[in-house]
């Protein structure tokens, strides 16, 4: 039944690829303003030189892109370059379907990338597996106009202050003080990283496939339980509680006053706010008395897939080189709000005289957030079937938000189901060593 979709997708890929064999194909998953920027970069690359041609194919979402890549790889019709998102890192590292970029491009100064971006995508030997592309991190957005109307003049920095502000907003009649979608990346991964808490043992799986989830015993559990209480109090709203139906849309429309969101959504928010509200963007809130650590790099990176001839690889290298160029990274940051993660680009932005311009607003804060003191647990997530775990986590916590179970029970269940996924992953990749 559903397998037939896979077969159909593979058949489609076969047709699509054979028609453009001479090109370097690049698959990406973004849509909206990010997709526009990606397409612009592809066009710019093709216009800048004649030796190589890159064909950029939008797949609609990271998940669909990965699904199709799996089908295409099995049918040997996969693209040369593919963008994958953070959660799929370990699946790809062990897939034997990709070549580490550092092997293909050994002469590039990879230590130009900030440590926070490297840590997520590098092997235990410090070799980068993928070239970070649209890097983001978690930031805290507020609608300054609405906050000031409620008498909050100082942008909140701690969770205690966020909740104080939310109470004032509510008292002033605001229907939606703080909004979140309860996404695993936002409420668990980034929260744990910046509070220095592990999500799983073995340093989030970096030290072996036999890791187990531990988030249900850390301070993150307390925070998630707090979210439930705050929602009952009317301070925190979920996607489904908003008219817009989606947290970023609700924030952008002015329906909600504060949100934790990816730096990648900055451009859309700033554009929506134009002439109506003032926006602030800062580092994600901490609990008082906790030391701030780095947030994780999110978004996606580009992998080079195996099984292509020399000419295609040369084209892929040229395109990766092109994307790393400071002017290209600056263009991409300005167009989307994604954060540049190489030091030379940060220097270039500082020298451009526009460092404080709104279009680079997320760059400095994002880097600052990712450059906070590191721990072994804030390097990243290296857990198998992690995409599926994110779904499990969402499913269980949704039940807690709906009042069907307490948050602690939800987290215990998510840990139990997550551990089963990890054990199955371990068994699936029996005898494979973490690179």
């Amino acid at each position: 039944m559903k397998i037939s979709v896979l077969a159909a997708a593979a058949a489609l890929m076969a047709g699509a690829c054979s028609a453009q064999a001479a090109n370097v194909e690049f698959w990406y998953g973004n849509t909206g303003s990010v997709e526009t920027a990606i397409k612009a970069q592809c066009d710019a690359f093709n216009a800048a030189q004649t030796e190589h041609k890159v064909t950029c194919v939008g797949q609609g979402s990271y998940e669909v892109s990965m699904q199709k890549a799996i089908a295409a790889y099995r049918a040997k019709n996969h693209p040369v370059l593919i963008q994958f998102f953070d959660a799929g890192t370990l699946d790809l590292m062990l897939s034997d379907a990709v070549v580490p970029v550092q092997d293909i491009l050994p002469d590039v100064k990879w230590d130009n990338y900030i440590a926070g971006a490297r840590a997520y995508y590098e092997t235990s030997g410090g070799k980068l597996f993928a070239q970070p592309y649209n890097s983001s991190t978690l930031l805290f957005y507020t609608n300054k106009t609405e906050l000031e109307k409620a008498g909050v003049t100082q942008t909140p920095v701690t969770w205690e202050e966020v909740i104080d502000a939310a109470r004032k907003l509510k008292a002033a009649g605001h229907a939606c003080p703080f909004v979140t979608d309860g996404d695993t990346w936002r409420v668990l991964e980034q929260f744990s990283a910046r509070h220095g808490l592990p999500v799983a043992s073995k340093h989030n799986g970096y030290d072996g496939l036999d890791a187990e989830y531990v988030f249900n015993t850390t301070f993150a559990a307390k925070h998630l339980a707090n979210l439930v209480e705050w929602r009952k109090e009317g301070l925190v709203k979920l996607n489904v509680d908003t008219k817009a139906g989606n947290y970023t849309a609700a924030f952008n429309a002015g329906e909600c006053a504060m949100m934790e969101g990816s730096s990648g959504s900055y451009a859309a928010s700033a554009k929506a706010f134009e002439g109506k509200y003032q926006i602030t963007v800062g580092m994600a809130p901490m609990y008082k008395d906790h030391q701030r650590h780095n947030t994780l790099v999110g978004g996606a990176s580009i992998y080079v897939m195996k099984g292509h001839d020399k000419e295609e690889i040369e084209g892929a290298k040229a395109f990766l080189d092109f994307l790393r160029r400071p002017d290209q990274q600056m263009f991409f940051t300005a167009a989307t709000g994604y954060v540049p993660v190489t030091n030379d680009v940060l220097d270039a932005i500082n020298k451009s005289g526009e460092a404080s311009a709104p279009k680079y607003a997320t760059a400095a804060i994002g880097i600052q957030s990712m450059n906070q003191p590191r721990t072994a647990d804030s390097r990243g997530i290296r857990l198998g079937f992690y995409v599926q775990f994110r779904e499990v986590f969402m499913e269980e916590t949704q039940k807690a938000f709906a009042g069907q179970q307490t948050m602690q029970v939800a987290l215990d269940n998510a840990k139990k189901r997550g551990d089963e996924l990890l054990r199955r992953f371990q068994q699936t990749y029996k005898g494979v060593k973490l690179p």
Partner: protein, 296 residues
């Protein structure tokens, strides 16, 4: 067979004519099904390479997984409620449209239209219709805040799904049932009326028994189809949520296999679901099919 040869002089021609279709069926049905059964005995890596034969381990794991049984139970509940309604509602409409009442002619036409709407489109429309802020039930929320919340309350989400499924099932079943009703000789009603049977009596004692073959057909098709056709609706309306309350087996298979890259687990569940549907259909034929009288 003799009738075949009288139609086609060349004995290969019918085979050639049917070949393209058979090729499609083999390619997009039998091959994937075989693949699913094959993978269900292996631990398969998403990108291939290093798959390991593990016998019935996948089956014992899936059968011991409470999530699987919950999804299976939801599938069963959906199947019984949604398919029954998807037959009963068109039946009522067909009986009404069959009578000589005003608007019955245009109704016979209009009620077929939804057939042209794809499942995913139905999903998008119903997600809007049942939206708690702007949908038809929004005024209800105005009076009793939070009473209709398909984004939070699993039951509400389930009701939305069933409503969308029943609506989408109306045209086909309506056409079949109406055709059955139209084929009943008018003299039967006249005879029944002469014997003193009122309208209700005529429905239950004349019409329903005589359209049993059509009812049986729609019921069998609905039961088997409801297992898989809910996918498009779930994927557009609820995404299996809230809290997994609308994760039917078919959607669980999809998320496990395509979002979680667990090809073996998804294949195993596909195999189990296949066997279940085959058994269910067989049971319907054995227990219900025998009682259907095809003679008039």
């Amino acid at each position: 067979m003799s009738s075949d040869s009288s139609l086609f002089s060349n004995r290969w021609l019918p085979l050639i004519l049917v070949a393209p279709f058979m090729l499609l069926v083999v390619l997009f049905f039998y091959v994937p099904i075989f693949q699913a059964f094959y993978w269900s005995f292996f631990l398969e890596r998403p990108f291939g390479g290093g798959s390991e034969f593990i016998g019935f381990d996948n089956f014992s794991r899936v059968l011991a997984d409470p999530e699987f049984w919950e999804a299976g139970w939801r599938t069963l509940v959906f199947m019984v409620i949604a398919s029954s309604l998807a037959v009963v509602v068109p039946l009522i409409l067909a009986v009404a449209a069959d009578r000589k009442i005003r608007l019955s002619l245009p109704a016979r036409n209009v009620l077929v239209w939804p057939k042209g709407v794809a499942g995913a489109s139905i999903g998008v429309i119903f997600a809007f219709i049942f939206n708690p802020f702007v949908g038809i039930l929004a005024p209800l929320n105005g009076m009793f805040p939070g009473i209709w919340a398909p984004g939070l309350d699993g039951t509400d989400a389930f009701i939305t799904l069933i409503a969308a499924h029943v609506w989408g099932g109306i045209p086909f079943n309506f056409v079949i049932l109406l055709a059955g009703l139209r084929s009943i000789p008018y003299t039967m009603y006249q005879a029944a009326a002469m014997d003193g049977a009122g309208p209700w009596r005529r429905i239950f004692d004349v019409q329903l028994p005589l359209i049993m073959p059509q009812l049986f057909l729609t019921l069998v098709l609905e039961f088997t189809e409801s297992v898989t056709s809910a996918f498009a609706l779930i994927d557009t309306i609820t995404h299996g949520g809230p809290g997994g309350a609308t994760t039917l087996l078919v959607y669980k298979i999809y998320t496990d296999g395509f979002n979680g890259y667990d090809l073996s687990g998804a294949s195993t569940q596909t195999a189990i679901l296949m066997v279940f549907v085959v058994i269910l259909t067989a049971a319907q034929f054995v227990f219900l099919g025998r009682r259907v009288n095809y003679e008039r």
